[in-house]
């Protein structure tokens, strides 16, 4: 046997590799079937970071489609409701550079909530059909109203309203929700300094 190997070192090496390869290949094949991942875990993780307003400002019909698109290489900076924090979180998750929000898809705004001027509402139910989270209550030819706690402020109900009776009102802070603002960093107190700092950081 040893003689055989020493006489045919090349063939012996190849056959040894083949012998190793077969069981490992079988093992891998088995594992691929046994531990097959259901769905797209990356898209799931991305979706968890998105704000779920379902507003479509990213040009995808909802947060899930955008999450899937990001998983397939779409830019991460198209979510205005999520804003900078969402972009940072996505950048962390995907290990890519955090880019500023794409202005084409809207600006990061203060949180808003839809408000129906009920006296003007004609009860057409168009806003109800547009609302992605069923946050508008009403029936045909009955006054509609917004369930504030469910409204994501996605704006989608404003466009279909034939009498323009829906306003997007900024959410006012209450004593319970008020918080301190982050102080202005010392280096940015002087305008010329702040530019330099920005430049240095960029």
């Amino acid at each position: 046997m040893i003689e055989l190997i020493s006489n045919h070192p090349f063939a012996a090496a190849i056959s040894a590799l083949l012998l190793l390869g077969l069981p490992f290949g079988a093992l891998l094949g088995f594992a691929a079937v046994k531990f097959k991942t259901q769905g797209d875990p990356i898209a799931d993780q991305i979706e968890e970071l998105l704000p779920q307003t379902q507003c479509g400002q990213c040009s995808y019909p909802g947060c899930r489609p955008y999450a899937e698109a990001i998983a397939n290489g779409e830019a991460i900076n198209k979510c205005p409701p999520g804003g900078e924090s969402t972009i940072n979180a996505l950048a962390d998750l995907l290990g890519v550079e955090a880019t500023p929000l794409d202005a084409e898809h809207g600006e990061e705004n203060i949180k808003k909530v839809a408000f129906i001027r009920e006296a003007e509402c004609i009860g057409c139910t168009k806003c109800i059909q547009a609302c992605p989270v069923d946050a508008i209550l009403g029936a045909a030819k009955q006054m509609h109203t917004v369930i504030v706690s469910e409204c994501t402020g996605c704006d989608l109900c404003v466009e279909p309203c034939p009498v323009d009776c829906i306003d997007m009102l900024p959410i006012q802070p209450t004593l319970q929700t008020w918080s301190w603002d982050l102080p202005v960093p010392a280096e940015q107190l002087i305008a010329s300094d702040s530019r330099d700092v920005m430049g240095a950081e960029a």
């Binding site: 704000p51 962390d92 004593l175």
Partner: protein, 719 residues
């Protein structure tokens, strides 16, 4: 002397407590207006239970607690409710909130109240309810409802009750004066708390060693009880709950945990007095001791203040000079906040009003860059890394902040105090904490919205599916109705024909072996004309089927029917060939289908032909002298007719005897000659240029006629 422990870090700012301890506590009196914010505690704001114009008595409930973590609000003197409106409240935001405004009538008339003579015989739940209904919330500064804090679960074994008399923040002396003057009440209140939570090991009152009078007074009052007064070196922020627990017991409250989880309950001395008054005297929490201090006030002292008293009323009694005051602070210099106006009322948590001059507390100097000196980390009483957290807060790296236990920060401000660059570190932490809380709220809301969105999508899909199912059901019903109406005079064969036609309509190009006349045609038609005329095709199929049935079907084949069939197949064959040619020219992908169609039609043609031959041989009697071509009048296509006629003639000719054939030939040539002559006459009349061609053909026909006659003569001579 009892052993005490030390806490990490801490600072020693100038105490400035002696200014306000020179005079005893005095009552501030009744102001012109009392303002009661509905939210003076942590938790749900109270709900007003009085109406504007209503007269209320001292101690009457004017707003009731809503929910578990909430306490009611009481009128602190008798008077009239003049408004329930939004007014500035003591809050760092300077925002307004709903308040009940009472104009006192000066009579200070108490509502009927009665204390519990022997609290030891009372039920714990009853006492807790009494404490809650007395509106008692932590008076050390946080304002957490005391009854909630005292509701210890049965499975939690509380070893130590700690009464917090530390008051570590500079300037504030409210608790100090309370301990000096009302030590008996504190000890009595502590006894009630002992009864409520039943500490199994010890009851301690922790007082810093900068308050010797208070310690002496408490020790006098505590004689004969199992309450121990513990003093320890002064250091800010020893008065923090967790810090005091560590100093007195050496135990650390775990991160994110409550003191009760390590068997300790901690209460402020002011709260203890409030509990005593509520239980023993039946008086709700309507007054508190508040320190008025700062160099902008001529007299710095402690007042027993009716809750709701505007700050301005207190300051006026102290010779307050607004010009000198750099900023008005509620609370101490370390953790207090600046008041926007002087009309803000004293609430349950207001332990101090500080009116410093600019020299006393200078406005914050501008912050400079962090030099990474590390003093903040040395000063932090919670052993955090303020400098690291500062950078993370600036970069908004909230994950990292949480990793660095930002949430354990007690916001004592020691780090900001020691910072040589004057960086307002604690502000960064406050802002970041709020941001993290908000992000968590957002995440919860996002999850909720997602669930709602998905539920909606599912519902819409289900509705669509239901609609579709209904539509299909309706369609099926309509078809069944139509079929039921037609079955009166039509048989299954017709239904089958309809179905076949439909199958073809679906675009199946391969010609089936169906016996239906039109089968091939319908299969070819949709290929060329698309599927825009499928209905016509189907109707045509039905008509044909009807005709066919009317024309014989089950009857024995006649020569006529066979010939008809042959002619029609022939016609189809030609059509199919034409289509094939077209397809070949256009390079259509249906070429194969056409070829198959043509082949099949040819096969059928052969079949029909042999059938006709057999029939003719079997029934020679029926032989007709008239050419079979005469019968073929089904179609209007002259060329195809001619071909069919010629074929039929050839067929007929093959079976004729020579004599007959020759006779036929002569008669047919004669006929053609007659016709040609007629045509020539017509053409000559009209002056047509075809006349010469016709004349030529006539002469040829004449020649043929002569040939035929000669052949006939020869034939007759031979026989």
């Amino acid at each position: 002397m009892r052993k005490t422990w030390n806490i990490h870090g801490g600072i020693h700012p100038a105490e400035n407590k002696q200014q306000s301890t020179q005079q005893p506590i005095t009552s501030a009196g009744i102001p012109e207006l009392l303002v009661f914010p509905l939210s003076q505690h942590i938790g749900t704001p109270a709900t007003p239970v009085v109406t504007v114009g209503q007269r209320v008595l001292k101690g009457e409930t004017i707003a009731s607690g809503k929910g578990f973590v909430s306490v009611p609000v009481h009128a602190s003197t008798s008077g009239e409710v003049i408004a329930i409106e939004s007014r500035p409240v003591p809050h760092p935001s300077g925002m307004s909130a709903r308040c009940i405004v009472i104009r006192p009538d000066g009579r200070d008339e108490w509502i009927k109240h009665r204390g519990i003579a022997d609290f030891r015989s009372s039920d714990k739940a009853e006492l807790l309810s009494l404490i809650r209904e007395s509106g008692i919330a932590g008076m050390g500064g946080a304002g957490f409802p005391t009854a909630v804090k005292l509701s210890v679960r049965d499975d939690q074994n509380i070893e130590t009750l700690i009464i917090n008399g530390t008051e570590c923040e500079p300037y504030i002396t409210a608790d100090d004066m309370l301990m000096r003057e009302r030590a008996d009440e504190i000890i009595a209140g502590t006894a009630i708390l002992q009864h409520l939570i039943n500490p199994s090991v010890q009851t301690l009152i922790g007082v810093e060693d900068n308050k010797p009078e208070a310690i002496a007074a408490l020790q006098r009052a505590a004689q004969g009880s199992n309450i121990e007064i513990v003093s320890f070196p002064t250091k800010y922020p020893s008065g923090g709950e967790k810090q005091l627990i560590q100093i007195l017991t050496g135990k650390e409250v775990p991160s994110g945990g409550l003191p009760a989880s390590i068997g300790i309950v901690c209460q402020n001395v002011g709260t203890t007095v409030a509990v005593y008054r509520a239980v023993t005297l039946g008086e709700p929490l309507i007054t508190r001791i508040t320190t008025i201090t700062g160099s902008a006030c001529q007299q710095q002292r402690n007042f027993e203040v009716l809750l709701g008293t505007p700050v301005k009323y207190l300051l006026d009694q102290c010779g307050y000079n607004a010009q000198q005051c750099s900023r008005l602070i509620m609370g101490g210099p370390m953790m207090g906040f600046t008041l926007g106006c002087e009309d803000i009322p004293v609430v349950k948590t207001t332990n101090c009003i500080l009116a410093p001059t600019a020299t006393e507390i200078s406005p914050p100097s501008p912050a400079q860059a962090c030099i990474r000196c590390g003093l903040c980390a040395e000063a932090c009483p919670v052993s955090l890394l303020p400098q690291q957290m500062y950078w993370f807060a600036r970069a908004k790296e909230y994950d990292q902040l949480e990793e660095h236990k930002l949430m354990d920060c007690i916001e004592c401000g020691a780090c900001s105090y020691v910072c040589p660059s004057n960086i307002p570190l604690v502000q960064y932490y406050r802002a970041s904490k709020a941001e993290i809380r908000e992000l968590k709220q957002d995440a919860i809301k996002a999850e909720h919205s997602k669930a709602r969105f998905e539920a909606r999508q599912e519902r819409i899909e289900r509705q669509e599916a239901e609609k579709e199912a209904k539509r299909i059901a309706r369609k099926a019903a309509a078809e069944a109705r139509a079929a039921g109406g037609a079955s009166g005079d039509k048989t299954d064969a017709i239904q089958a024909a309809i179905e076949r036609a439909k199958a073809k309509k679906a675009g199946n190009a391969v010609a089936s072996t169906s016996t239906n006349n039109m089968a091939t045609k319908t299969s070819v038609e949709p290929l060329n004309s698309g599927s825009d005329k499928p209905l016509d095709a189907a109707q045509a199929a039905i008509e044909k089927a009807k005709n066919k049935r009317a024309g014989g079907g089950a009857e024995a084949p006649t020569r006529e029917s066979l010939e008809q069939a042959l002619a029609s197949i022939e016609k189809r064959l030609n059509g199919a060939k034409e289509k094939l040619q077209q397809a070949e020219q256009q390079g259509s992908d249906k070429l194969d289908a056409f070829r198959i169609g043509v082949e099949k039609t040819e096969a059928k043609y052969q079949q029909a032909k042999t059938a006709l031959d057999e029939f003719i041989q079997a029934n020679p009697a029926q032989q007709s002298a008239a050419p079979a071509a005469e019968k073929v009048k089904l179609t209007g296509d002259a060329a195809q007719d001619a071909i069919a006629r010629a074929l039929a003639k050839r067929e007929a000719a093959s079976t004729m005897t020579d004599e007959e054939r020759l006779k036929n030939a002569i008669s047919s040539i004669g006929k053609r000659l007659d016709k040609a002559r007629e045509k020539l006459a017509l053409a000559e009349n009209e002056g047509s240029d075809t006349a010469t061609i016709l004349a030529e053909s006539i002469s040829k026909l004449e020649g043929k006629l002569i040939d035929a006659q000669q052949a006939f003569d020869e034939y007759q001579q031979q026989n």
